[in-house]
């Protein structure tokens, strides 16, 4: 059984001195002066860096994109980093915070928490030591993905959307307050695909008087709109009331979004994401694994397939969903989900706090359904999507490996193939 998470763990941002060419781009990009250098190395001050990731895309070498999980009190000081010729090895696993999806607030599996972390960190980076999601997750889309538009609007030129709807999708009385919010872009272009995300810029300033940075949310609606033929998108947003470590906190953006009223105008940036996209070829299968508001992209993909099916002009493959939450009443979209035809989607719900029932997690259900899952994994037309809390990554990948093994598939071959062929997509926060 879990205990409280290790609050002393820190994902420390480091620069690889073997790859860095000292071009100074990172130092000049950093908005808060966290990067410095001497004659030898460029280094990051752990106590200043807020993981905003502004330095990562401009780095020409990739040296900037290195992370080590260390106990907070033992972060590498700048003086030590300046002497390095190479990065130190990873810390042993005991030193890391490990919190599985069965942690004390598994129900908080929501985008919410990311919502309060720095913007870029929702992209799956930084990778933690030992288990590195980048070793497994695809960086390329499926071969039949539609071409996405990305970065049409940035922090310097956000576009505007009008709130067209805002309803609570978890039962009242439950702890998690998750909202389904519809934003309408009117006549302004904002083309999105299922699996892409958008950024919302909350109004006002932070404690230091700087404008709030944007928070990223996956779209929950398909490409032709929440309402087909309309220029709108929907989001699934959980109100943040506690932080990653269980302390009370009022999430700036999630509370702003959950409290929006119809007719309000919000600033939006994006779209973002060019690989977590669905296949579009006939008979392609989707395996979707998610917890909490990680359901948003799954809802979008499922709904697009449902509309295609209704049109009768597209022969879809199988859809298999593994969905985790604390109770049925806290499952976003539980009602509509249960109404979908069984021959359209194979729904597996994992409830960790349903009274009178043993706790079950998505990995448990994946193992129960191992033979069906393995059969799908064996097909080159199957594409796997994982979205939820970061802590689920490792468990889900381990389970996929075991399931593949039981099905007689060689993970050493299948794993890299899934990654290379854009067939395993992981987005966590």
């Amino acid at each position: 059984m879990d205990t409280a998470p290790d609050t002393t763990a820190l994902r420390q941002h480091l620069i690889d001195p073997e790859i860095c060419i000292r071009c100074n781009t990172c130092e000049s990009t950093c908005p808060i002066g966290a990067i410095t250098h001497d004659d030898r190395n460029y280094v990051v001050r752990a106590d200043v860096c807020d993981l905003c990731m502004a330095c990562v895309p401009p780095c020409p070498t990739g040296a900037i994109d290195n992370w080590r999980t260390v106990p907070r009190h033992a972060a590498y000081p700048v003086e030590e980093q300046l002497l390095w010729d190479e990065l130190p090895p990873e810390q042993p696993p005991e030193a890391m915070a490990t919190r599985g999806p069965d942690g004390p607030d598994a129900a908080a599996d929501t985008r919410a928490i990311t919502d309060e972390s720095a913007f870029g960190t929702t992209t799956g980076r930084p990778a933690v030591a030992r288990f590195n999601v980048a070793d497994h997750a695809s960086t390329v889309p499926p071969w039949s993905a539609a071409h996405p538009y990305v970065n049409l609007y940035g922090p310097g030129n956000p576009t505007l959307a009008t709130v067209a709807g805002n309803v609570r999708v978890t039962d009242a009385g439950t702890e998690s307050d998750t909202h389904h919010v519809v934003l309408d872009f009117g006549t302004l272009p904002f083309p999105v695909l299922e699996g892409q995300s958008i950024g919302i810029v909350p109004p006002g300033q932070d404690a230091l008087g700087r404008p709030h940075h944007a928070r990223q949310y996956s779209v929950a609606s398909p490409r032709n709109g929440e309402r087909p033929g309309y220029n709108n998108v929907s989001l699934t947003v959980k109100r943040v009331t506690i932080d990653h470590d269980g302390r009370p906190v009022r999430g700036v953006c999630s509370n702003y979004v959950c409290d929006l009223r119809v007719g309000d105008v919000v600033q939006v940036i994006g779209p973002f994401g060019a690989s977590f996209l669905m296949p579009n070829h006939p008979r392609s299968n989707l395996v979707m694994i998610c917890t909490g508001t990680g359901a948003a992209p799954m809802r979008a993909m499922t709904e697009w397939r449902r509309r295609l099916r209704t049109s009768g002009k597209f022969e879809g493959g199988q859809l298999m969903l593994f969905f985790g939450a604390r109770t049925e009443r806290e499952l976003p979209y539980f009602g509509p989900l249960m109404k979908l035809p069984k021959d359209f989607i194979d729904v597996n719900l994992a409830l960790s706090r349903e009274s009178g029932q043993p706790r079950r997690y998505v990995q448990d259900l994946m193992r129960e359904r191992a033979s069906d899952l393995a059969r799908l994994l064996a097909s080159p037309d199957t594409f796997v999507y994982v979205c939820g809390l970061k802590s689920m990554e490792e468990g889900v990948v381990d389970t996929l490996r075991d399931v593949a093994g039981q099905g007689g598939l060689d993970w050493a071959t299948l794993g890299p193939a899934l990654r290379r062929e854009g067939r395993l997509h992981i987005e966590t926060y």
């Binding site: 073997e18 790859i19 060419i21 000292r22 071009c23 100074n24 781009t25 000049s28 990009t29 004659d39 990731m53 502004a54 330095c55 990562v56 895309p57 401009p58 020409p60 070498t61 990739g62 994109d65 010729d85 870029g120 980048a134 960086t139 990305v150 970065n151 940035g154 922090p155 310097g156 030129n157 060019a274 290379r420």
Partner: protein
């Protein structure tokens, strides 16, 4: 070409569509640019899909957007760093005055000259490198070459924007001339010497991007201090792209060294003939290439004493590298600087007014920066346990410009007679045989993840893609 929505076709943050005259002028220039690109851009590569980084805005998220692009469709845009309200000139006679948003009449000719000289180097390097794609050692390297090329093209756009926007008819004529000069052309050459040299092989290319693009970094850094605000903001953004070019050079040479060290350790030899027979480039040859590119590049900083340099500084047009971080009076009227001259057959220092020696100041900053990277190359040999060290030659070695031009000085800094120089020059500079050998290794490797035998694979791919990613699709 009418009907193109230029606010979309030319990504920009200068409100291009709000200035019809400028928009029309650039509309007329664009087809000429594309014509130049087709004629003088990468040879036989216009139809490839290349995994390129395209700037779509100056925000960190917006300027590193990666996707497959055919090079002629690359979105060459116009980007200036955001305007800083209340920015003031922080050096020269106008110190403390508000930065200029327009060109002051009295500095017009000098500013135009500075911008044209900088702008001329951008298409020149594309021309110098146009055949290299045919002999790329891997898809990864081919992609890096093309990235460098399209960004040099974008830098040309940046300078042409300034010429069109601020220099009227003269500016438009200069912008045309930038497309008419040709690298190495006897009748109509590029303005600066190093940009008329050939870049015949990939070792030259890596040395060029390491040293000569670093000259670009220092020139751009000095211009980023300019009192002419649009020039400062343009060059600041160009610097972020220049970093990639230096990365290509530094990591390229480093990978050549790594491969050579592997071969040396496998064969247990340091005999250049045996190393060459095994298909790797021996370390003394690398040193001779280095000597050449280093000496040609430091000439680019101009004469060691220059009244033009003094004028550019005093009038607030071009500062020093990291002007803002220096703690002197930023006017330099009474300051002196030591430069080299030949006295009684030996090199000796003499003190001259610093204002006149500002080219030398920038050259010395460049030298310090270059040496750092050469030390990092030496770590490759350290790691492999090979007792060979690369070094940069003496500042007076093989110079063609300034007081030191046409002296005969060894890489160690010893003045020698012309006869001695001629007898030993191929110990120091790559000989035709050296170049022919390196050329003999060049051949295109086009399979993802495979690398030519004379170069090691990189440590990481581009944009976190794997090294065996298909960075270029030939179609």
């Amino acid at each position: 070409m009418t009907g193109i929505n230029y606010s979309e076709r030319i990504p920009n943050n200068v409100d291009l569509s709000g200035d019809r005259a400028l928009q029309r002028a650039l509309e007329q220039w664009q087809p000429n640019f594309l014509g130049w690109w087709r004629e003088m851009g990468p040879d036989g590569s216009q139809d490839f899909d290349v995994y390129l980084r395209t700037a779509v805005s100056v925000e960190p998220q917006g300027w590193a957007h990666f996707d497959y692009v055919k090079m002629p469709d690359y979105r060459w845009g116009i980007f200036l760093n955001p305007r800083e309200e209340g920015r003031r000139i922080h050096f020269g006679e106008h110190l403390g005055e508000e930065a200029w948003q327009d060109v002051p009449g009295e500095h017009r000719a000098n500013l135009r000259r500075i911008i044209v000289t900088q702008g001329d180097t951008e298409p020149a390097s594309v021309e110098q490198q146009r055949h290299l794609g045919l002999t790329a050692p891997s898809l990864y390297d081919l992609r890096n070459l093309f990235q460098v090329n399209v960004e040099e093209g974008r830098h040309l756009w940046a300078m042409v924007y300034l010429l069109h926007r601020y220099f009227g008819r003269d500016g438009r004529e200069e912008a045309e001339a930038l497309l008419e000069r040709r690298s190495g052309d006897v009748d109509n050459p590029r303005i600066l010497g190093a940009f008329n040299e050939r870049t015949p092989d990939w070792l030259s290319f890596f040395m060029f991007t390491y040293f000569t693009d670093r000259d670009g970094k220092f020139q751009l850094s000095a211009l980023a201090e300019s009192g002419f605000d649009p020039l400062a903001r343009t060059t600041k953004f160009m610097l972020t792209e220049e970093a990639h070019h230096m990365f290509v050079g530094e990591s390229g040479v480093s990978r050549v060294l790594q491969r050579t060290c592997e071969v040396m350790n496998q064969l247990g030899t340091d005999d250049p003939a045996r190393i060459r027979a095994a298909g790797a480039i021996d370390l003394p040859t690398v040193q001779r290439y280095l000597n050449f590119h280093y000496s040609v590049t430091i000439d680019l900083f101009g004469a060691d004493q220059s009244s033009n340099a003094a004028t550019f500084y005093s009038s607030g047009l071009k500062g020093r590298f990291e002007e803002g971080k220096r703690t002197d009076d930023h006017r330099l009227a009474g300051d002196t600087y030591r430069v080299l001259e030949i006295r009684d057959g030996r090199l000796a220092e003499k003190e001259v007014p610093m204002l006149n020696a500002l080219n030398e100041v920038l050259r010395d900053d460049f030298i310090r920066d270059s040496v750092g990277g050469v030390q990092r190359w030496n770590r490759v040999m350290d790691k492999a346990g090979i007792p060979f060290r690369l070094s940069v030659p003496h500042k007076a070695f093989n110079r063609q410009i300034g007081t030191l031009a046409n002296l005969h000085v060894t890489p160690e800094g010893e003045a020698v007679s012309e006869a001695q120089w001629e007898a030993r020059r191929h110990e120091w500079l790559a000989s035709p045989e050296d170049r022919a050998f390196v050329a003999s290794l060049m051949g295109r490797v086009a399979e993802p993840g495979r690398f030519a035998g004379w170069i090691a694979p990189p440590a990481v791919g581009i944009n976190r893609q794997p090294v065996d990613f298909e960075y270029v699709r030939f179609n």
